[in-house]
Symmetry: C2
Subunit: 69 residues, 2 copies
């Protein structure tokens, strides 16, 4: 299973104003974003198929996010 790299996740936490974050906090955020990514990607694949395409486009991703979040 894919997981997103920790370094940019740590910078997201710093940018959000976290003076400090444990390594486990970074790992947890990486895990949660990966799961959200899996969910969005799976729905985008369904939308592309529904539209008769094999290629997932940016607008498929945008539509999923608009519908789900």
């Amino acid at each position: 299973m894919e997981t997103l790299p920790i370094a940019p996740i740590g910078r997201i936490l710093s940018n959000a104003g976290a003076p400090r974050a444990t390594k486990n906090a970074k790992i947890e955020l990486s895990k949660e974003l990966t799961e959200l990514g899996n969910e969005i990607a799976a729905e985008a694949v369904k939308i592309a198929k529904h539209s008769g395409r094999k290629t997932v486009k940016a607008s498929d991703i945008e539509l999923v996010v608009k519908l789900k979040f």
Copy 2:
């Protein structure tokens, strides 16, 4: 502003069953996950402060995701 790297995002799309994805689809998914990450991180910082801590812990991230998604 931080953005998540494209390569693991492409693998998330492949793992989700996308036969193909445009580069813009990968960039869009990276952008959306970064925004969700910013949102989760900002709320986790608030929860840590509320608990009298400067350090964001994994349980802060878990609580945000439980409350919001």
